[in-house]
């Protein structure tokens, strides 16, 4: 095998976006085709399936095979790529009659809510009908072919990746329009005579032949780019161009003439499509499968049904089994924090909690749910000593809200910055000790997991962010609960406690206040509670009466917690970026302060109190006035505050995952040092280079922005749904939503600005990333 051929067969570009698009389209089609094939195997035969999948495979071959990298070296390869996109893939895709299978393959909610209005739109239908008219389609096809083959335009596409994408997109789009008139895929009905297709194909072939002849017989190289690139196999640029012309001419003509003969013979011998007669022309209008009901299943994903994992979670001591390793890590953090070197990057107490635990916490909240409360180590001493503790008192009624947690959370965020907790292993260790003692004392004296519900700032963080998580502990079949007499899920049975947070499963809705302790799952005698998949954020725009919580709209304390967490996300990240640190330094010198304490305190008072009060207050006032709402300003602010959660979570995700992913191996040298000091040398000597000097990867800012993007979109959608539920008319709802949308975009812009700034790499020996 020659070295060129060897290199060719090994040159497979990896384009995840293209693979994703093709894979998703193929999966949707396959799903729809399987449903249709079961109903009517005569109409939906395997030929359509293979044609459609072959069309997708052809696109893959054109854009993600060795053809793509070699197209920039040889014009003939580039020509093959374009022929695949314009003459092979489109007719194959249409032969798959993709409309019905693609529609039927989509989830019902997407079909009815998103697709149906598009199909019902007269404007869109007229647009498509005009585009698909043979005269227009032919003009578009020929125009795209000729314009993109003009030397200046072709050269532009070769030198710019963006223009190259545009060229391929344009080719595929116009070719799909062109071949639609030829194939006339089911359920389209012919609006013009089939005889018209013959001159249509002849004209297309003529314009193709003229262009091919120009390329074949030209005596100069038309595209300067190909004159510059090195020649392979001593093939001159002119020979390469002639070969490209021949490829365009011969296989190109075959692509037009083959269907021409096929259609011509069919017309001459009077053979008409059985499908057209049976389903199309006789029946008149054909109903699209937009509103068809799908077979109703309760929930198609339950974590407890996952092999091994589900079995482990159903085990009564699963939680303790998860808590013990985390407890051991907490013990290491406390020991090293009190006795190890007082440099954050060298101490387990400076790295494990502030880089790894926080990063894993937010990522697990995103991917799963509140698993860190599930594995919380602070409750282990209380759990083990439960039988000796009094636990008889009720938590004071005046403290039964989130206000205490709001204050503690604000103080924690301020203290983190003011006392540089990330760089103080000693303080970190004492905070952990404080957590253990407080949890033990509060839960030792008071019943009902008061520490988790009313005090723990980490718990409140997890409760709020898990409102947009993928998993929720909830009832599998409400009908079983309706006839249940024992209510063990809340009362408990056989020494298995019921829900200590007073969340009664049949009326529990959302992850708020749920620690994922799984007690209700173990206590339910009907095995009717699972860890079920849910649409992220769905609970934010619903406002039912929730067990243990009431209605979200009547909980200003919850709204205050959310506001502190949302604005805290931005303040916490902003406190680490270079421009904000510089402003703080300038303000310190202006106020003649040696210590940054005053300026940091001012910064947090402004970020967590003044700014939210101004922005939320203004948005609520404008929203109430524009939407002509009867609720008070506080009620409006309370309800809409929930819409900010996804954006705030996006910022926490962006920030914490940045530190975790940029410094994931920073724990290793600290662990090596710790093990070495204990006389255990198997981990080797500390490699401090891992704790510093590694530049931030290019993909990280993209990932951070992606988190913010999804946060913004979910926040906007939640706000839109809340506004819709608060106002009678759509125009009022739009006006009520506008100020909140503006606030969300403002916060998003601040988030993007933060991501684009150099950030302090706290917990490492590398100052700025």
């Amino acid at each position: 095998m020659s070295s060129t051929l060897d290199a060719f067969v090994r040159s497979w570009p990896f384009d995840p976006w293209l693979l994703f698009a093709l894979g998703l389209t193929g999966a949707i089609y396959l799903r729809g085709w399987l449903i249709l094939n079961r109903r009517d195997p005569d109409r939906w035969g395997s030929g359509q399936l293979w044609a459609f999948l072959s069309g997708l495979a052809t696109i893959f071959l054109a854009l993600a095979s060795p053809i793509e990298p070699f197209a920039s070296l040889l014009l003939q390869i580039h020509m093959v790529q374009h022929l695949l996109l314009m003459m092979v893939a489109p007719p194959l895709l249409w032969l798959g009659a993709p409309l019905f299978p693609l529609l039927r393959g989509l989830p019902q909610s997407i079909r009815t809510y998103w697709i149906a209005p598009l199909f019902r739109s007269l404007a869109l239908r007229h647009l498509f009908e005009r585009l698909a008219h043979p005269a227009v389609a032919l003009l578009l096809y020929a125009g795209a072919t000729w314009i993109w083959h003009a030397p200046a335009v072709y050269d532009l596409a070769l030198r710019s990746q963006a223009w190259h994408y545009a060229q391929h997109g344009c080719f595929l789009f116009t070719a799909l329009i062109f071949w639609y008139a030829v194939v006339q895929p089911y359920p389209s009905r012919p609006r013009w005579s089939q005889w018209l297709v013959l001159p249509y194909l002849v004209l297309a072939d003529v314009q193709n032949t003229i262009l091919a002849a120009l390329l074949t017989f030209s005596e100069k190289v038309l595209y300067p780019y190909y004159r510059e690139v090195p020649r392979l196999g001593n093939l001159s640029a002119l020979d390469d161009q002639s070969t490209a012309g021949v490829i365009m001419w011969v296989p190109g003509s075959v692509a037009f003439l083959l269907p021409l003969f096929w259609i011509g013979i069919r017309l001459l011998y009077g053979k008409r499509s059985k499908q057209g007669i049976r389903h199309g022309m006789k029946t008149g209008r054909i109903a699209l499968p937009l509103l068809e009901q799908q077979r109703k299943t309760s929930h198609d994903h339950d974590l407890l049904r996952v092999p091994l994992l589900g079995r482990f979670l159903r085990w009564r001591h699963a939680r303790l089994a998860m808590q013990l390793p985390v407890l051991a890590l907490a013990a290491l953090v406390i020991y090293d924090g009190l006795h190890g070197p007082q440099v954050g990057a060298m101490n387990l107490a400076g790295i494990l909690p502030w880089i790894h635990w926080r990063g894993l916490l937010v990522l697990s909240l995103l991917a799963l749910g509140n698993v860190f409360c599930m594995a919380c180590p602070f409750l282990v001493p209380r759990t083990l000593a439960r039988r000796w503790l009094p636990q008889g008192r009720n938590w004071p009624s005046w403290l039964r809200s989130k206000w205490l947690a709001v204050v503690l959370l604000g103080v924690f965020l301020w203290a983190y910055e003011a006392f540089a907790l990330w760089d103080s292993p000693w303080w970190t260790a004492w905070i952990a000790v404080g957590y253990f003692v407080t949890a033990f004392v509060i839960d030792g004296f008071f019943s009902g997991a008061a520490f988790c519900k009313y005090v723990c700032p980490i718990g409140q963080f997890n409760f709020v962010q898990s409102l947009v998580s993928l998993l929720e502990v909830k009832v599998r079949d409400p009908a079983i609960c309706a006839v249940c007499k024992t209510k063990d899920c809340i009362r408990g049975r056989d020494e298995i406690p019921g829900c200590e947070l007073h969340l009664y499963q049949p009326r529990k809705s959302s992850n708020m206040d749920c620690t994922f302790c799984l007690d209700c799952i173990h206590a339910c005698p009907h095995d009717n509670i699972g860890v079920l998949a849910q649409a992220p954020g769905r609970e934010l725009w619903r406002d039912p009466l929730r067990s243990g919580l009431g209605r979200f709209s009547k909980r200003p304390d919850l709204a205050a917690l959310i506001v502190v967490l949302v604005f805290g996300a931005f303040a916490n990240a902003a406190g680490m970026v270079a421009p904000v640190v510089e402003w703080q330094d300038q303000l310190s010198s202006l106020l003649q302060q040696r210590s940054p304490l005053l300026v940091t305190s001012l910064f947090f008072v402004f970020s967590l109190l003044v700014l939210p009060a101004l922005l939320i207050g203004s948005a609520a006032s404008i929203s109430r006035w524009c939407g002509q709402m009867k609720s008070s300003r506080l009620e409006v602010a309370t309800r809409f505050a929930f819409a900010l959660i996804p954006l705030g979570f996006g910022m926490w995700l962006a920030h914490y995952s940045f530190h975790f992913l940029a410094s994931y191996d920073a724990a290793m040298p600290a662990l090596q040092r710790f093990a070495g000091e204990l006389g255990w040398d198997t981990l080797g000597t500390p490699e401090w280079s891992r704790a510093c000097c590694r530049p931030v990867a290019n993909w990280l800012p993209r990932l951070e922005i992606l988190f913010l993007d999804f946060g913004l979109l979910l926040s906007l959608y939640t706000g839109y749904r809340i506004a819709g539920s608060q106002c009678v008319r759509a125009t009022q709802a739009a006006k009520a939503f506008a100020p909140w949308a503006l606030l969300m975009v403002l916060l998003f812009s601040v988030g993007v600005w933060i991501v684009l700034q150099p950030m302090q790499m706290r917990g490492t020996l590398f100052p700025v990333g």
């Binding site: 290199a7 060719f8 990298p69 920039s72 001593n234 991917a367 998949a533 990932l703 906007l716």
Partner: protein, 171 residues
């Protein structure tokens, strides 16, 4: 099942986010010349060349037959007065097109850089040099604007969709 599908989709989107910039080779021809027994061609990307991440790809061919020699060892060096010297081996592993050998650099400053390509293979060794001019890096938001702005497109599509749905309801 639904969660698995959502997980796969999200996972793949993340892979897309992570892998998008990891494409390395090609670009425009910067210099092509016969040196010793080799014909050496150097491609650079992006176009125009800017400070920041750049890709330098090299095609080594037999000067007589034009046969590519991807097994030749290639070393790429970039120097600029006042800046640390950048030197990396170019490899076929780093290139998508396996005829080429590519190396990714982080140009620390704009201005003129001296490029030196050293080739060692069965036909002996050769060196090719040229000057590269790197423009100022684009502001980061310009580089990342598609990532920042795509939600606006999603909102616009949603807005049109809701308008159509409402229009239909009124009809």
């Amino acid at each position: 099942m639904r969660l698995v599908v959502v997980g796969v989709i999200c996972g793949w989107l993340l892979v897309g986010a992570l892998c998008a910039p990891a494409r390395g080779d090609g670009g425009v021809v910067r210099v092509s010349a016969k040196k010793g027994a080799y014909l050496i061609t150097v491609f650079t990307s992006p176009t125009p060349l800017r400070a920041g991440p750049v890709d330098i790809s090299v095609l080594v061919q037999d000067a007589v037959t034009g046969e590519p020699l991807p097994e030749a060892r290639v070393l790429v060096r970039l120097t600029q007065p006042g800046q640390p010297e950048l030197e990396y081996p170019a490899t076929t592993e780093a290139a998508t097109n396996k005829l080429l050998q590519a190396a990714q650099f982080e140009l620390t400053a704009s201005g003129n850089w001296d490029l030196e390509v050293q080739v060692e293979g069965s036909h002996g060794s050769a060196m090719l040099g040229c000057a590269l001019e790197a423009a100022e890096p684009l502001p980061r938001w310009v580089e990342l604007w598609p990532w920042i702005c795509w939600p606006a497109l999603a909102v616009a599509i949603f807005g049109i969709h809701r308008l159509l749905a409402q229009k239909r309801r009124h009809c």
